[in-house]
Symmetry: C2
Subunit: 348 residues, 2 copies
DNA sequence: TTTAGCACTCTCCACCCGAGAGTGCTAATT
DNA sequence: AATTAGCACTCTCGGGTGGAGAGTGCTAAA
């Protein structure tokens, strides 16, 4: 029994690839005979069966029952994705169409993020998720105080990177718009590009207005530190409703719960894609022992944005039986596209 | 055969109510015998069957097949909701818990809206949706121009009602932050509380900077006119995965598509809940002939906000077999709660 | 090392059958 | 006239059976 995975003969690799391919296509166990017929292999089904036995010993494929065809195992998919998958680049016509959708009428992130989710969902026929980009280090850029009604003030805080946070402040007394603007100006002059830590270290002023606003600023900056603070764009849910893996035995264990429970999602994202540089695509197959909900699913994730400055995440969630080549290409393509867009509109 | 629906005898009403109740509980056809046993009726099953025949003639219940129990029809549910449903107010302990969640640490809409979706989903065990509130009439409140990099400028536009819209502008030439601030101030002085129409009617200035910004403002105000422009908060998807009505025969017809396709959703919302005053709860049963996707589902919707000023929508989407009493109460309760919160923090 | 041949295994589907749930109808009762 | 007991009838559901067919494993030959 060969232990080293890379010692597969090229024929074994071909057969494994074909099994994976055929199984993603038909969702059925793959028979030795159908393999040589459908792909025109110049070897007999008996030979294929012999090789299948070897692959089964290595743990890459298994039989649902005696005298059934073969199904890739989790290990099999993992080997396939690591060593055998070939990126099937999107057709250039498709690429152009997508790019055009993004660049027409530059509407900004609130247009691009849902569009990215929609494109990913369509291309992969799976569930897609896209998070808003997020500064690596939280720093003050600009504040605006707008008098609204009585002592209520709308604070609009812009962080370096372009993130906008708003809050309604109920101040102790009524201030005129002039004095509010003046106070905002002071903040803008003194705090520009200051990090959260630097601002926290400032001597606290005694002016109650300034004090109150400073507290609010710090609150908002702290909130912004959370990983997935703001919006999460999902799409393609209906792609996946008829896939048994997603309905699972009981609904408590459905993989979709992962998308609804923010703590779980944060955990997943921070443990995987956050460890990677921008541009790298990570493939998580079968929950890797950690996420029970993902037992029969795979997740493909990447980061987009600007290294060490600003980044968000995007990816797809689909059944383990998934066209990895296409899916990885789609994730990479959309990720790169968003990175370009974000770079063009960076708020320094 | 009685034609007038209100001519049901009180016993017929009771039986219809019980059938609806029992069917939502068990998802099974309801037998005459089980009805008198489980609810302790003082009449015989034969009498119940006679009444059932009348109800069947009126089209309120039907038999899946001869010699099976009875199931409410769409019409039956409609009659039940219009005439028989009794609001089962949420337990006061639950109400307090929920209210407390909303009022603790007043973080604003970005906290409340997902919370509302989550509460609705939990209370109804269905899919919930919440849209951000939206001004009835679009009017300018405040603008801020922030120089970022080169000739790029971040425009932050605040509308009356508190809606914030942002856009990155690539200006023709590089302007200093001072001149940008000055321009912004001019806008703030001249445009405050001006409606979209009023601003459109203004003489176009010849200053290229002013012209460019005015165009951007109008663009953003136009975007804000769309019904569901911004975020849509969904929750409870996993509640519904195991419900056959949602998986439907083919995934093209899944009711969940309605939540993913913005045009469809806009259509649904504008045709139903938009016609209603704030506080009114609308129940849409079985798509009412218009929405094929909702054939076996019901939607309960309401508006929240401030009449004629600012409003958003919230509601739930569940199987037609749904505990309407609870669901309607939950929607009404959360709607009222959000209305209060929005009123407290109105940006005039 | 590969392959043809063949017996063997297991699934899948169609069919049947009996039990049981629930009704509709009729005749008796209130 | 309304209600009810009684009973025959209908239809579903679940289990069991059996045959067809798909696919394998093994052996022996090339």
């Amino acid at each position: 029994m060969k232990r080293n995975m890379t010692e597969l003969t090229s024929r074994q690799k071909i057969i494994l690839s074909l099994i994976v391919h055929e199984h993603t296509r038909t969702a059925q166990p793959v028979a030795s005979k159908s393999l040589i017929e459908d792909y025109g292999l110049q070897i007999s089904s008996a030979t294929v069966r012999n090789e299948m036995n070897t692959l089964a010993e290595l743990g890459f494929i298994r039989q649902p029952h005696t005298s059934a065809g073969r199904v890739p195992t989790e290990e099999g998919y993992r080997f396939f994705v690591s060593n055998l998958v070939q990126q099937t680049a999107l057709p250039s016509a498709t690429r152009n169409t997508i790019t055009h959708q993004f660049y027409q009428s530059r509407r900004g992130l609130d247009h691009w993020l849902p569009l990215a989710a929609s494109v990913l969902a369509n291309q992969s026929q799976a569930v897609s998720l896209v998070t808003a980009p997020h500064s690596e280090k939280i720093a003050f850029k600009h504040i605006e105080l707008i008098s609204t009604r009585g002592s209520q003030v709308l604070m609009v805080l812009v962080l370096v990177g372009g993130e906008i946070r708003q809050q309604i402040l109920a101040l102790d007394e009524i201030y005129s718009q002039e004095s509010l603007s003046e106070t905002a100006n002071q903040f803008n002059q003194n705090l520009e590009n200051k990090s959260l830590q630097q601002i926290e270290a400032l001597d606290s002023s005694l002016d109650p207005l300034v004090q109150q606003i400073l507290t609010a600023i710090l609150d908002q900056m702290h909130l912004s530190e959370e990983l997935v603070t703001g919006e999460l764009f999902l799409d393609g849910l209906s792609n996946v409703l008829s896939i048994p893996e997603f309905i699972a035995i009981n609904q408590e264990r459905s993989p979709l719960r992962l998308l609804e429970e923010r703590p779980m999602l944060n955990d997943l994202l921070s443990r995987t894609v956050l460890t990677e540089d921008i541009g790298g695509v990570q493939v998580l197959i079968g929950g890797e022992g950690t996420w029970q909900e993902l037992r029969d699913c795979s997740v493909i994730l990447t980061r987009y944005g600007i290294q060490d400055q600003l980044s968000g995440m995007l990816g797809i969630l689909g059944p383990m039986r998934m066209p990895y080549g296409q899916a990885i290409s789609a994730v990479r393509f959309v990720g790169d596209l968003l990175s370009d867009l974000v770079t063009d509109t960076l708020i320094e």
